[in-house]
């Protein structure tokens, strides 16, 4: 039975995985990829499939688990965001050489903008670096189809294949028809062959040669990979300008050309750009005098085009090298190119003056903030209060927003809250300076990449306080469970691995737990921890600040609700705004003092402790 349903792009990808008979799906959450695995779970439950799913502890772990499944002949996939693929890069490079037996697909979601990432890196470049094929969908429906094609290619050529949807595919919604999902009964089998599965450098040379031959062959396949790679040239015709586009920008270009009814501009769609379909590109180039290359976010296609005289792109300064290529940007740069080539322009609609107008309004800048009642706010307040002169190294998650409260000085990548803390420590200790340092990291991020850095810090006698902000979920990416909860991806019970045990296993002797809602207790504990870090017999001190996320645990997180008011004692000193920044506390221009927005207030009562004038009280 077929049914129609509006799917999130990530849901369309999940559907593609299951339609292709994918038997093992692993993932670590990260925007914009996070919803793929939950959508897989939803679909396998509704269709009664036996697919194995797991939230892995990090992307490399996800990669290796799925890879092994593929080596045993099953169809397997791992899903992550683009910077997650960095974590799995070591595995990816090697897996390309070794190859697989079953189909192995890596879904790595890009974030041009960036909207929710540290970088705008282009996974297609990673695919080229690792020498594996990559597909770049232009819509949710196409992503769904591509997953199937990726599995077929992977199986036929025994090579990992990457599908890289960009955020506008992942977080688009489209209406799809689906139904009739079936289990794939491929059984696991492993044929020992150490020359391949455990290849030494001498064999690696041979495998590298094989990989190169596979790529040549796949490149030829990509010449005719309709509907992912094709052009609409009329045979024999010559054009002053053609557009070569891939992925999401392809959809935008198509919309613009059809809105404007421009049949004079041919398009080469290239959504399977590596291994590069050389012949197809040549054919297109030879029919056009100039070719505008529009791809996100880097120069993969442009890099392969040899005729630099003809190519207009990033190298020639025609396309911006950073930022998302949103429709108005693409519209503008096509128009500029037409003007430059003295061709008829687009029917510009002149919203530019509106942009200037809006700039002049000085609208409030709405930066993201921690939610009202968020336990991290309490933790940061306590940390700053107890160690005002410390360097605050931090990490990736909701708590990165502690930057608004002056509680976050650094954020490099997953796990660096800890490793940068030990780095800072040694750097200052080298000059005999005792620099206080407080590191923060979330529970999920700690499981992801905390232990190696913590072990190293203890082993090398670094001194700092590590506060693990344990809100018992992976909040930023949509409340996925952690190993600390012992709940698995499909909702079944797993083994709980408490943070305390992992921290102790890293060699830490000072481990204390506190509820950050109790500000006084937390400040006291941090001071005690500070003494331990400066004691010659001391070491790294770990505090676990444990309180559930108010969004994930709406009911339990705030057991005693307290209605809050601000009295006339408020002198508008700004202290609560600068140090605490609760969105429910705002400056009321009529009252000329701070007030509580009761519709936003979570009634957590933490602010009762903070006002120096005692103006925040219970009603």
């Amino acid at each position: 039975m077929k049914q129609k349903e509006i799917f999130l792009g990530n849901g369309a990808i999940a559907l593609g995985l299951l339609e292709a008979g994918c038997q093992v799906v692993t993932s670590y959450p990260g925007t914009p990829s996070s919803e793929i695995l939950p959508e897989v779970v939803r679909l396998i439950k509704s269709a009664g499939l036996n697919t194995y799913v797991e939230w892995s502890t990090n992307e490399k772990v996800a990669f290796d688990n799925a890879f092994a499944a593929a080596v045993s002949g099953k169809r397997a996939a791992c899903c992550m965001k683009q910077v997650g693929l960095n974590v799995a890069a070591d595995s990816l490079m090697s897996a390309a050489y070794i190859g697989t037996t079953g189909g192995f697909v890596i879904i790595s979601c890009d974030d041009p903008g960036p909207h929710s990432s540290q970088t705008e890196q282009d996974t297609r470049l990673m695919a080229r670096f690792a020498k594996v094929p990559v597909l770049d969908p232009s819509s949710p429906e196409e992503a769904r189809q591509m997953v199937g094609v990726a599995f077929d290619l992977s199986e036929e050529f025994q090579v990992p294949v990457i599908v890289r949807p960009a955020i506008r595919v992942c977080h688009a919604r489209e209406n799809l028809t689906w139904g009739g999902l079936k289990n794939n009964d491929q059984k696991a089998s492993f044929e020992k062959n150490p020359g391949r599965w455990a290849a030494t450098p001498r064999f690696r040379f041979i495998l590298h040669g094989e990989l190169n031959r596979k790529l040549k062959e796949i490149g030829r396949r990509f010449e005719k990979l309709d509907p992912f790679n094709f052009h609409d040239l009329k045979s024999g015709e010559k054009y002053p300008l053609g557009i070569l586009a891939g992925g999401v920008p392809y959809s935008v270009v198509r919309d613009i050309l059809s809105d404007e009814d421009r049949k004079d501009i041919p398009v080469l769609k290239m959504c399977a750009p590596h291994p590069f379909p050389e012949g197809l590109a040549k054919e297109f180039m030879s029919a056009c005098e100039k070719v505008l290359v529009i791809e996100e976010t880097d120069t993969v296609i442009e890099y392969f085009l040899r005729d630099r005289e003809k190519v207009l792109g990033r190298f020639s300064g025609h396309i911006p090298s950073e930022g998302e290529l949103v429709p108005e940007v693409i519209y503008g740069l096509i128009n500029k190119t037409l003007e430059e080539l003295q061709m008829k322009g687009l029917s510009s609609e002149g919203h530019e003056s509106a942009i200037e107008l809006v700039k002049g309004l000085e609208l409030p800048i709405r930066k993201p903030t921690l939610c009202p009642g968020c336990p991290h706010r309490a933790s940061f307040f306590a940390i700053r209060k107890a160690r005002p002169k410390a360097i605050f190294t931090s990490d990736i998650g909701c708590y990165t927003l502690g930057i608004n409260l002056g509680g976050v000085d650094t954020c490099l990548d997953m796990g660096a809250g800890i490793t940068m803390a030990s780095g800072f420590y040694h750097s200052f200790a080298h000059d005999q300076v005792e620099q206080p340092i407080v590191a923060t990291i979330g529970d999920s991020t700690f499981y992801h990449s905390g232990p190696a850095g913590l072990l190293n810090a203890v082993y090398n006698d670094s001194r700092f306080i590590l506060v693990i902000l344990d809100n018992q979920t992976t909040a930023m990416t949509g409340m996925q469970p952690t190993p600390g909860l012992g709940i698995r991806a499909d909702g079944t019970k797993g083994k709980t691995i408490p943070l305390e045990r992992v921290v102790a296993g890293c060699g830490v002797d000072f481990i204390e737990t506190v509820d950050p809602y109790d500000l006084k207790a937390m400040v006291k504990l941090i001071k005690k921890a500070a003494e331990y870090t400066s004691d010659p017999a001391g070491g790294v001190a770990v505090i676990i600040a444990r309180h559930p996320c108010v969004i994930a645990y709406r009911e339990e997180a705030i057991p005693q609700k307290k209605e809050i008011v601000v009295t006339e004692d408020c002198v508008e000193c700004n202290f609560c705004h600068d140090w605490f920044e609760c969105p429910a506390l705002y400056k009321d221009p009529d009252l000329e003092r701070t007030a509580v927005d009761q519709t936003l207030c979570a009634q957590c009562g933490v602010c009762l402790e903070i006002c120096p004038k005692g103006a925040i009280i219970e009603a």
Binding site: K4, I6, L8, T31, P32, S34, E35, H115, S116, S138, S139, R168, H171, A172, R173, E174, N175, V248, S251, V252, R254, D255, I256, V326, P327, E328, Y331, E349, G350, H351, S353, A354, I355, L357, V358, G360, L361, L363, P364, R366, K367, P368, T369, L370, C371, C398, L401, M476, T477, G478, P583, T599
Partner: protein
């Protein structure tokens, strides 16, 4: 049918995604094609949130600046912030005071490109019905009273009944209807 572009704007937590879903599902229910672009992740924590809905045979999910036929704003400043999306002759519906909206600095531009602005204090309606989180439904009800775009009041109402969780269905419909009344006056 011609393609119709919606932009929906507001703040994280105001239910922009739900409002978009209601419109999209209503369009699909009557056999139309849709594409939606949503905001997830960091910005959802209290920042400006925008979603785009395109009804008709289009390929890209984002509405191009200067091409939105309808802008629905759950907050006054977020309405202004998204003015550049509006196409000539577009319509702007906002949760804002009836008389002072839109502020005078933007009026000449809106008049020049022929934008019709309609506002209603949707938050007050929701708060009065003890459903402060349902500002989105009040505005949607208000919007539906003007029979603008491809989706009617009845179709939206049916979708609300269809997709609301059981315990919210009744109140959701009530807030929606109050918004509709506000628009019909």
């Amino acid at each position: 049918m011609e393609n119709i572009n919606f932009v929906l704007s507001g703040l994280g937590g105001q239910g922009i995604l739900f409002m978009t879903k209601l419109l999209a599902q209503s369009a699909v229910n009557k056999g139309l094609k849709i594409l939606v672009a949503e905001t997830h992740g960091m910005a959802q924590r209290g920042g400006s949130v925008v979603s785009h809905l395109r009804v008709g045979g289009v390929r890209g999910s984002l509405v191009r600046a200067g091409s939105a036929h309808i802008l629905l704003a759950l907050e006054e400043n977020e309405a202004y912030r998204n003015i550049p999306f509006l196409a000539k002759g577009g319509k702007l519906y906002a949760n804002a005071p009836k008389t002072s909206f839109p502020r005078k600095e933007v009026r000449p531009y809106l008049e020049k490109i022929g934008i019709e602005c309609r506002s209603i204090p949707a938050s007050d309606i929701a708060v009065k019905l003890a459903a402060p989180m349902s500002t989105n439904l009040a505005l949607l009800g208000f919007f539906s009273a003007f029979q603008e775009g491809p989706i009617s009041y009845d179709e939206l109402k049916e979708t609300i009944a269809q997709v609301s969780p059981d315990r919210f269905r009744e109140i959701n419909l009530k807030v929606f209807d109050k918004g509709f009344e506000g628009g019909s006056e």
